[in-house]
Symmetry: C2
Subunit: 428 residues, 2 copies
Amino acid sequence: MGKNLLIAQSGGPSPVINSSLRGVVEAARAFPEKIGKIYAGYHGIEGVLKEELLDLSCQREEEIALLRNTPAAGAIGTCRYKVKAKQLEDFDRIVEVLRAHDIGYFLYNGGNDSMDTANKVAILARQRGLDVVGVGVPKTIDNDVGDSEFKLIDHTPGYGSVARYWQMIVQNAEEENRGSSPADPVLVLQAMGRKIGYIPAAARLADPKRETPLLIFLAEGKLTLEAMAERVNEEVKSRGRAVVVLSEGCDVGDLGLVKDSFGHASFGASQTTAQQALVNYLNTHGIAAKGAARGQVFGTDQRATAIYASTVDLDEAYRVGQKAVLLAVNGENGFMSTILREPGMIYQVRYDKAPLELVANSERTFPEAWITPDKADVTDAFLDYVRPLVGEDFPNVPVVNGRQRFAKLEPVFAEKKLPAYIPQADRK
Amino acid sequence: MGKNLLIAQSGGPSPVINSSLRGVVEAARAFPEKIGKIYAGYHGIEGVLKEELLDLSCQREEEIALLRNTPAAGAIGTCRYKVKAKQLEDFDRIVEVLRAHDIGYFLYNGGNDSMDTANKVAILARQRGLDVVGVGVPKTIDNDVGDSEFKLIDHTPGYGSVARYWQMIVQNAEEENRGSSPADPVLVLQAMGRKIGYIPAAARLADPKRETPLLIFLAEGKLTLEAMAERVNEEVKSRGRAVVVLSEGCDVGDLGLVKDSFGHASFGASQTTAQQALVNYLNTHGIAAKGAARGQVFGTDQRATAIYASTVDLDEAYRVGQKAVLLAVNGENGFMSTILREPGMIYQVRYDKAPLELVANSERTFPEAWITPDKADVTDAFLDYVRPLVGEDFPNVPVVNGRQRFAKLEPVFAEKKLPAYIPQADRK
């Protein structure tokens, strides 16, 4: 019987994060001599710190298979807890938990920060004499992991599905806008991705031949509120209407953070949004009538939707999970499993490894050459990049009694062996 | 060769409005001796006033069939133009257009107001000596057409699909919220339906056995902001988290309409929303940490989404369209085609007629008995009513080259025969 495996997730979920989890579990079950129990840190690294380890070994095969079409992180949970470099006590605790539960494989699913944490945990554990292999599993809807030359990773699992979400949403919005014009000629849709524009850029997939009045504003385009409004007004003038997709990170000036009576910002969200600012501006400075612009801020639904998941993304996320286990059982400590695209017309990827340290210290930006000179669209080169990632057909989301049938894991936890612990940042 | 048929749509669209249109076109094509050309008022009654009549007779059979899974009103357009009783010139113009294009059948798809308009047009046309049959086709996502005893209509086409949208969205949101707690324990989702709570009520379909911390606040429940927040805080205290669905019409106090320098309200939408008000309140008065509540306002996507359309709703919308044509060719002037539910366990409907005048003057409210005493949920009796409407499987939305394949109608219009006309309300 081999050592046990522990996987944890970090940060915002994706529609395919559970597909990677399934890949990990099913691959781990294929090595009964090397891998003993399979545990999940319940709600990420916080669950590891609290020694809340969900037992995945005992889960029914069918429920593990159903993880494929189960979106978001409801199965094993995620967290926003960041183990900071200075929180040595937290790192010590993680190593204690690894030791107490005979963990030989530590897998961490997340973005750049998580790759850094996975790396540090593995280094520390080995310094303390534990034989632990630390491996990263990439995930983020923003596609901001890795470098801009795509050498470390071509694209992150999760991105293809959110790209498909925007493709579909904008196709629907075009029907809505065309039908409801001229009464409601402008529809402004705000997409996630504060720092990087891959998500709003994917809206172009809805209309790759540019047959509809679709405008796409990335934060990287750096248009002012006035310039964006002018462009929308031009579109309304020439084509009668416009569907606008803009990044939540577009700089539209003060978003009006409100402070409460204690002087603290009174809510996590800003009082207004880039979408609202643009809609308001259009309704006061637009060529169309007042109230002619309306908008919507898309929220967590874009990272939690089962039916818009890309089948390509679902498959790749699964294989990236499998690959992480292969790296682990081969003792490849300090690597992230990765997706690299083969050159040429035929879309083909291979699953490889990238050093965690390089990934942790890398930064991806949206290539400037993929933004059109007028900053209101993305180029065909971007379409060539993104098109294969969204796949062809809708996934087969199982439906039982009219409802989506998502995986249900049994709440079976490893027996606690250590004293209780409050994660450092949670102490008051 | 019979007289021509004219159909127009009014108000906000639905995911199945085109399914009714398909029913109308295909049924009309079955009576070549009674019905000549089939025209659509392009963008509703405004298109009729402007004599912009889209020719549906010449459209390819396949494109008409594709209307089934094409959401919203992009095919023939809708409008918000209301022909007011006093705008006699508009009514005169409509009759002129009907006469000029030899219209014998006038079909109007919409809600209560549209049924009133259809009735008035038919009465006036006959007074002027035209042999026109006026028939209504019911549509609204709000399910607010007809009376509360369901004698005129059991439910409106469009509602079942939006109900399914909320069923699916809330299932996804549950995965998101469960996975992202305790970091983000409260997720507030705002649904459409300002005056009537059928849409938010449908969220209960996501969890009919009440296994998850789902709270539903209808405007009809009349809870104050404080009372809603208290209920959410209780849920967070007892179950650690909450998914909250609330109606856009919930009374949360001043929504902060901003006025511009001219003293006019500067945008159609209010500055804030019921969702934002509740989220802000929770983040300042909640038991969870600041920023622990987040929310999203769902917009036009709920009435423009192809993949969440209910197959039952799609079928019924089609048949209601067919029925309207049958009423028309039988000379049943002044009726709306309607859906009535047979009593008993087995869900079964029959397609019948309801007098336009009764429908126009009726008002539906959400039955008080379907709201639970604590005003934070709906009852099983409501679930019994709504469950059959959302159907079982996902519809088969055709996908071509990765994109949803929606109907594309050729822009072929009837030759204009009258002088140009500016609709009365559009004059300056």
